[in-house]
Symmetry: C2
Subunit: 201 residues, 2 copies
């Protein structure tokens, strides 16, 4: 089995490998300053890493961007699952809990918007590896929302899912561009009103 470690370097307990440091630093910088604004040199300097270490781990910057988004995707679903785990067996409370958690996040200091929407904005109409990650992420969000909309008894679960995704994406954008002053704080009330309208008679 020792050979397997060479083929697939799994997350080890040892001190973080160069690849991990690069990805962590890139995730921070890409998210807070934008992908186009952050160059390779900035990343390797912040990670304390040689340039060749980056290009050995990631064939190109595009691949590093895709890895960044995959990492963000994982973290997103960890937060999601942690939130709904707080309300077992109560789909409506789960939905509202998600809305509250997202609201809080979008109003926090360092919030810089949805990394997927942001990257899509930075590379419009592209066919980069990142694009696949972005579309897959948004599709799964829609599916999960639709499943929850069904669980709460919405008359038209697909429509409620679309509506909720709309206010959530709106909160992402508004939180980023306008901060606490902006309309992002209305996410929780808007979501609740949409759920109520879709469920109650």
């Amino acid at each position: 089995m020792s050979g397997a470690r060479k083929l697939v370097p799994e997350p080890s307990i040892d001190k973080p490998t160069a690849r991990d440091r690069i990805l962590n630093v890139a995730s921070d910088l890409f998210y807070h300053q934008g992908v186009r604004a952050v160059g390779i040199d900035t990343i390797i300097a912040a990670a304390g890493v040689a340039k060749m270490s980056l290009y050995r781990a990631f064939p190109s910057k595009d691949d590093l961007v895709a890895a960044y988004l995959e990492k963000r995707n994982l973290e997103f679903w960890e937060r999601w699952d942690r939130t709904i785990a707080d309300y077992p067996g109560d789909p409506r409370a789960q939905l509202e809990g998600l809305l509250d958690a997202i609201t809080q996040r979008t109003l926090s200091e360092a919030y810089r918007g949805c990394p997927f929407l942001n990257t899509a904005t930075e590379f419009p109409g592209s066919t980069l590896p990142a694009d696949t990650v972005i579309r897959a992420h948004k599709r799964v969000v829609n599916e999960r929302l639709r499943a929850m909309a069904t669980a709460v008894g919405a008359r038209d679960p697909q429509m409620l899912a679309d509506q909720l995704q709309l206010v959530i994406d709106g909160a992402y954008s508004a939180g980023q561009a306008l901060g606490v002053e902006g309309p992002a704080k209305a996410l929780a009330s808007a979501g609740r009103a949409l759920i109520a309208a879709a469920v109650d008679a």
Copy 2:
């Protein structure tokens, strides 16, 4: 009065000046490909203009970007006013007409999102001249929405304005990133549900 033409070159009926061609081309390219993705050389080539003509009209690219957003801002309010003029004296129909018009726009082929949010995303946390235009635009949208929310008799006009701005910005983002398949098509129904919840007993 002939001296005034030299000081302030007003929009003339003559053949478009170099400045106009530059701004029109820049508006198209910046919007569809992104500000960072479009260089000065691309703009002057597409406008059929000398580089010095650009820098004579705009001190720097940052100023050109600000002018681009100011142009988009003007066009935005022209569309807005044209839409609400279709329903004189009926604020609720005006609001719903706006939602429908925006929906249609976000689902059109060439739609590439909100130019203000997009530019804010491309230059996070900046203090560029463009930033002033962006924040002013979103603030005025919120004010106009609040006035209309008051007119339709919302119990909490500020909250309804925030909620509507949220779904609108969400439709902008979703229309851009996901296209017709995405949730942007739910804008009209979401907006109507929010208005109804805010107005009706």
